[in-house]
Chain length 902, copies 2
Amino acid sequence: MKKYIYTFGEGMSEGNAEMRDLLGGKGANLAEMSRIGLPVPPGFTVTTECCVDYFDNRMSFPPSLKEQTLAALIKVEKSTGMAYGDKQNPLLLSCRSGARQSMPGMMDTVLNLGLCSSTIPGLIAKTRNERFVYDAYRRLITMYADVVMEKAAGIETQEEKGIRVELELLLSAYKSRHGYTEDTELTVEDLKYLCEQYKQKVHSELGEPFPDDAMVQLWGGINAVFKSWNGKRAVSYRRIEGLPDDWGTATNVQAMVFGNMGNTSGTGVAFTRNPATGENVFYGEWLMDAQGEDVVAGGRTPNPINESSKSEHNVDKESLEEAMPEIYKALDQMQAKLEKHFRDMQDIEFTVQEGKLYILQTRVGKRTGTAAVTMAMDMLAEKLIDEKTAVLRVKPEQLEELLHPILDPAAKETATLLAEGLPAGPGGAVGQMVFSASAAVEWAQRGKSVILVREETNPEDVEGMRAAEGILTACGGMTSHAALVARGWGKCCIVGAEKLHIDAMARKMTIGKRVLKEGAWVSLDGTRGNVYNGHLPTVSPSENEQFEIFMQRVDKHRKLGVRTNAETADDARTARAFGAEGIGLFRTEHMFYGKGCDEPLFLLRRMILSQTRNERQQILNKLFRFVKSDVKSTLVIMDDLPVTIRLLDPPLHEFVPHDLVKQKELAVSLGVTVREIKKRINQLKESNPMMGHRGVRLGITYPEITEMQIRAILEAAAELTKQRKRCRPEIMIPVSSDPNELKFQRQIYDRVCEEIRTKFRIKAIDCLFGTMIEIPRACLLADRMAKYADFISFGTNDLTQLGFGFSRDDMGGFIDKYLKLHILPHDPFQVLDQDGIGALIRIGVEKGRQANPSLKIGICGEHGGDPASIRFFAEAGMNYVSCSPYRIPIARLAAAQAALNS
Amino acid sequence: MKKYIYTFGEGMSEGNAEMRDLLGGKGANLAEMSRIGLPVPPGFTVTTECCVDYFDNRMSFPPSLKEQTLAALIKVEKSTGMAYGDKQNPLLLSCRSGARQSMPGMMDTVLNLGLCSSTIPGLIAKTRNERFVYDAYRRLITMYADVVMEKAAGIETQEEKGIRVELELLLSAYKSRHGYTEDTELTVEDLKYLCEQYKQKVHSELGEPFPDDAMVQLWGGINAVFKSWNGKRAVSYRRIEGLPDDWGTATNVQAMVFGNMGNTSGTGVAFTRNPATGENVFYGEWLMDAQGEDVVAGGRTPNPINESSKSEHNVDKESLEEAMPEIYKALDQMQAKLEKHFRDMQDIEFTVQEGKLYILQTRVGKRTGTAAVTMAMDMLAEKLIDEKTAVLRVKPEQLEELLHPILDPAAKETATLLAEGLPAGPGGAVGQMVFSASAAVEWAQRGKSVILVREETNPEDVEGMRAAEGILTACGGMTSHAALVARGWGKCCIVGAEKLHIDAMARKMTIGKRVLKEGAWVSLDGTRGNVYNGHLPTVSPSENEQFEIFMQRVDKHRKLGVRTNAETADDARTARAFGAEGIGLFRTEHMFYGKGCDEPLFLLRRMILSQTRNERQQILNKLFRFVKSDVKSTLVIMDDLPVTIRLLDPPLHEFVPHDLVKQKELAVSLGVTVREIKKRINQLKESNPMMGHRGVRLGITYPEITEMQIRAILEAAAELTKQRKRCRPEIMIPVSSDPNELKFQRQIYDRVCEEIRTKFRIKAIDCLFGTMIEIPRACLLADRMAKYADFISFGTNDLTQLGFGFSRDDMGGFIDKYLKLHILPHDPFQVLDQDGIGALIRIGVEKGRQANPSLKIGICGEHGGDPASIRFFAEAGMNYVSCSPYRIPIARLAAAQAALNS
């Protein structure tokens, strides 16, 4: 017989803190707290294993559960001296979920179980508080009807039509009929009457009566908690957090204690350190004569527990320290004991029932990014934890808060939410709306803060995007043009806000019935994807002096290199400041956009539309100096760090102009008619450009394009070498699918190398030649590719596109459904798909190293900045990851944690 | 010291027929013939190994070669009683290439080596034939200048400007100055003068004198033959035939014999059986007083060697049997001996020098497809070969000749070649040009034969394509729409004939300066890709009674199943006649085109453009009966053979109408404006539709579409089962990339199965559920996919597209260059890429079988009809291949040969 039940409480804890897989975090900690002598109301935990068996067995309880439950219940009754369902001395129970990892608010709870017509009189006699008893009864009916009878029974309702809302309407109608404004004005008789009304409503709405039997209530509660593991909210939370569906939740059944039994009672939540700043002070809130839900619900503003917890909002309110000094002292000792015991900041729930303190829960406290860093460094200094633990204490994603300004959280609460989109670029941004890139540039020049609002962006918008505080688009996903560019700059950006109807011509946008014109203020929360109306205040990223020191500790444990994807000298500078150890992806094509100088793009367009090799060669000769100077300036900034320069990658059609004016200009310069230009542009169109004539395919059909670029890079390097400056270019061939492509391009490289060595009279150029592996076939042929490559770098964006057959631009039509139906656990463009794409990468790494053990291997897709993916890349044996500048600290931390966890 | 030289000739053969890898086919057979007592002029073979070493050593001969050559030369001199370079009794030599496998005409030959100023007088004295000697000298100068001094020296010229042409111009100018019409009119003095003129011309054109030294000539000859292995023609031949570049060629140096020494001399070519029909009769041609090149060059029409070789063209000419009965008798005995010895039809070159017969070469003779089948079956009956050998004797591709009419080969020789394209559909077709599908239908109804000429075709052209004799397009590759459809029907088709400029509006096409209007006659050779002007005669596919019997023998050895890709009842019937063992791919979407009934397509379009589930469901209910009846009719034809029905695959945008009339119709039927229809059509557009919202992704977002199709198929099957008819549908989900997609679709399948069993009160429906594996990720997850699949079928077309990242529609811009530069050995859409795509397939097969040992595995891409690919599929362990109906006999033979060779 499996042991499904573990009791806890003074002298009877069967579990301990190590057993969180079986008992859930809450259950394990309740057991542990009893063990170390803290006052925990007794109870028992129904294991996660029981929950799993319950689901495996078509949602019915294992046969032995009943017997085990009754045995545990007797222990609890003995410990409390009360009896569940007893007429004289009735015990009340709570029933709470508790999974392996905290899923706050995602699963259900029922309190006050055990109240029914047979136990109510006894409880009244015992407490001599009829009003308290009927208020508890009212709360039980509400919770039970909502959680057990409606949700757990699978009755689907819209939230605003659920039974809970119906009951609350009854209450408020009753109050307004009697001219009451507060719940406290309700008399015993009012409550009695309302309880009857509630029960009638429940019966008529849900088709069955509220159960008037304590045991029925208990089983209903356990059943509802189990079921809530697969409730909509819980499932979607797990999806977001990447938690597995097969863990199951434990259920904690515990003796009720009441903070709402008058002025010697109360309840509160406390943190062993300040969760917002990380400061090492005891911090918390409490309410006198209240139950836990009152603190959380926000109907009453809670009091501070002590001086350190006072702020401008609650400075006048009485602290627990002041109101109940003895209790506070005991609590303070307990919190210190708890933190020392668990060696981490604890989030503690406590209740005082008629002068007696109970600890209801302890768990590792959530904290802001800056607090996480501060606590980790403080605890390390206090020798509470070792360095390894300190490095593991900060979640990589938390660092984002330390890098960007954010919208003031308080202001957000009262602001009008206009629309939701995808959180494509982090932080907050506030500005006046403009609807074109040129307007953005113009307004910004006049000193205005602007938000650039577009249906979607394209490379011609880059200058405007740079000028804007934030970017907002109606279309596109997390890897759309806007998202990619914004993330690269660490700029606030929201994409795919589908509710927006943008009319760029009329310079306005419509959301539902609301019309917003050019110049209207909006505020973006790019970390959440929320668009607010008006001008919200922002909060600067908290200056955290320990950040730098923390990152130094991080780097001590890191094995994986971290480079950056950078297109400009600015990017390169930012990235170095964030600790980049080189550039892993410098896309040459970006030099053709938005530098305030149209000539390179114009030349490129002429080159693309020329039709003879001769014509093309002449224009390439002119382009040469732009490419050289662009590369050179970046090489100078990066000094002795490697710079991987990818040769021209996109299909040529991406560069040609679509407006008549520019087409005319080109026609004149090439000496042909506009019709001819249009014809040539048309010829470049492709059915599936992602899989068309691009990357190395251009370098094969037009070897002179490859040659010009290689020559420009090597000459830049040669000139720097001559000036005794250091530089380490690495030339990367994109989109290769066959070793012969590399062989062919390498021949050009070797030849040009030789020519430049002769021309500059230098012995060697410190340059590597390699390729991007972004085509599935290239992974499978990596051994043969490696014969012609000094390094390979996985381009996981395109590898994901081709490996899945998902066009990033077109998957909007189905990806939401895929995520909703759990067909895929994540958007594979955000979190690397380890099963499929990861398998291809492993094959590539293995084969590549097999043929060339000194092969340098990196990755330069979007996944290079994603912590879960970085862990995979570290395990796969890569040398480095490359990500956008603002993701570098995150990548460094993720890489260190990967090394520590390996 | 490596042995580089092997002598042959009476009593001195060091090699034998087994040694073809080392001696080449020609050398090995010359040695073998001497061994079995045939009169072969003596000589020696320089090995292929020597050629490989020569290329490895920067094209210089191995040091020991000279010594070995001189030793062999002495043996030849002893055997002939002459001496090379001798003044009195000079020996002349020939120098010919001979690779492992015959590469006819691809490499070079030099004859009459050893003629120089010191040997000419002796030869004249010996032969008493001064004219003969100077004619031989003239031939030597021409060949040597061309092959050794120009080609082998790497002097690049256009063919019409080479030294050979220059010398021929000299000759013809001389002849016209003297009023000669035939070479035979040239006197000794003329020839002497011309030889001097030739030598001067060679010196002035090529910058060095013609060598007047026998040994120099010999080394020049050997060198030139070796070099010709890497000549342009040879390299491109090897690419086409798939032969490796590292074999090298042998060089055969042999004593010259002369058929041009008067009326007791002659030369000829003979086959041990008729190479055109396969008939078991000795067959050949000869010329009196001539050299071998005269027979080949075609200046004189050769005589038949015997009665069986007479035809209407040469019936009046004297046969060898008549002119030299003794010689003929000897030759006839020799040919019989040769065929018996080599156990295959031999192609023999012979020369008679002054009444003495020599055999110069024997090799396995080329033959037509019909001859190949006849010979194989005859030789099997004669017990010359066993059944396994008989099956291996016919190349799979040769069967194509037995299945299609072809253009008369004689007529092609004199016809005007208008353009060349890709041979997309086999056989020949003759008709009048039309430029639209509707015109094709109309003209055909009026009883005309038409060729449909289009820029490229699309699904709306299908009816016209069906009506046409042949299809010709200016764009598109071997896997374009036109090519796919035509091959499916076994219809003659040429695609990508880039020289054509088609103006469909003006109903004309331009090729260079030639303009052809609607109604003009053209003739297509779809097997070669040639477009001829005018109305050429065609030849029906030869009726070969032994074909059926041969195929029965083939099937005895075959392990791999062969199914067909079929869309219509007609296809299914054709395929069964060709021996299909089921349908491996029935594309549901094809039922929406060209059945003379617009309703299904109209309904489909309405369904696509409807926007509520309700609207969609109503239309699906109407579509249901069309799908059901379409499927049912095919199931009936296929009886108890399996029919794999693929659910809707293409992106929906492919189906929507682009013309205003149809758009208006739809708008009316859906009760919306045309503007709204246009907007909805626009919303369906995708950047990369190949990787967009299609296949199972439609089935996930619109499960009702999957459900309708599954219900239609299962109801069709249930109705047939009720009628006690047999049927075996297999439902195939396209484009799946994740096991959860299959799980989701399988749930629909299981539910509908259950419903239909209940509705029809039947115990079981004999149906399988499976998926197409055409996404790289699906190969890597095949084990998990196999949990939800009874079968998988590799879709190698899309797998190749995604594995390479090559869009079939867009690779026109680079694939030619890739093939020309040998970056890829083949177009991977025609011949499966075993290295990359094959590796994915192997992973998929292995994983799939691992998880589900009884998993049925097939392949249904274009590669299912390609013999080399079929060999791979057999080795990979598949159960069946599926190909278009007309490829079935080819696939059956290739599969049998794969089994025999494994």
